[in-house]
Symmetry: C2
Subunit: 204 residues, 2 copies
């Protein structure tokens, strides 16, 4: 039986660039982890494949899973649900594969409640003026909106204390390399491998 | 003020090759850590420098430090003491430098009592037949001696549960790379960097 995989959760404040880092990470060809397949209630588009692009479910089915606590996390967006099915994640981990999730800070904390032994990585801006610059450059000129986003970003950074690792996103490629090293190191954790060694000792 | 350095402790069962791995690790020119300087009661040899090769102390002084709990770990060998002075290690860590220790399993557990937030890395054989081969090849033909060493090795492997990481020594260079990744990852731990971010938040 393989060792159970690791759940790896990448999160961080709005505007820190976690989507960009996740995409760059998944472009590497030596990844040993799977990107978590989401569940949605929106209609399947042409070319999309059930269980590859999404798990497509009715609103009733999705709400049933929510009420049974079987969604690792979920959100509603323009009238449809999007989320991560718990059974799929646990099945993949049991097969010995790592599962990678990139989500908002609020969602990440919900995931931690259900899978506390996941590896929680917080992507941070190199400094706050840099974060502010990214928020300003998002394409709005209204100061009130920018300040609201800054306040939210500060609140989100306060959430860092609940994570295992803080990775600075100064350069996308550097952030990707740091995340890869963290994931590899987590596989060397004694908690992760102790059962295998215990069995080796017993067999001797 | 720099972040406090990390104490990195490499240990593992007799015959696993920790000395070889440590030497290969220290031959890398991009190391960010310092090798811990030992204290000894033996006489200074020609060319040796106080505070570089060893801290040279009298037996009385050494025993005074032991009784005051100021040795991180120590051992007696052919009539002389050898050990790691706690003040030196703490001073180096406070300067923001990592300190690297390579010691026996028994010594490592003593270090953990004094510096529990150190990074404890356990070097393991790829499998037990391999460990047995290494013990046999150490140059003795007496089966009783070999079996005694095997029993000791098994007892030492049981100590793995008290460590943070288990690194397989299948190839020296691979083991070195794994250790380097672990050390780097440990610097990204939220516990390690949270104070800096708290200060950044306060300043905003």
């Amino acid at each position: 039986m393989p060792e159970r995989g690791l759940l790896i959760v990448l999160s961080g404040p709005s505007g820190v660039g976690k989507g960009t880092v996740r995409k760059a990470l998944f472009e590497k060809d030596d990844n040993q982890f799977e990107y978590s397949i989401s569940m949605t209630t929106r209609n399947k588009r042409e070319g999309e494949v059930e269980g590859v692009d999404y798990f497509f479910r009715s609103k009733d089915e999705f709400e049933q899973l929510i009420s049974e606590g079987k969604m690792l996390e979920y959100a509603e967006y323009v009238g449809n649900y999007y989320g991560t099915p718990l059974d799929y994640v646990n099945k993949t981990l049991d097969e010995g594969k790592d599962v990678f999730l990139e989500i908002e800070v609020q969602g990440a904390m919900k995931v931690k409640e259900k899978i506390p032994d996941g590896v929680f990585i917080f992507l941070t801006p190199p400094d706050f003026s840099e974060l502010k610059a990214r928020i300003v450059n998002r394409g709005t000129d209204e100061l009130a909106v920018i300040e609201k986003r800054m306040t939210k970003a500060k609140e989100e950074i306060e959430m860092m204390r609940h994570y295992d690792y803080a990775v600075v996103n100064d350069e996308v490629e550097l952030a990707v390399q740091r995340i890869k090293k963290i994931i590899e190191s987590e596989h060397y954790r004694v908690n992760h491998v102790i059962d295998r060694y215990e069995n080796m000792l017993k067999e001797l």
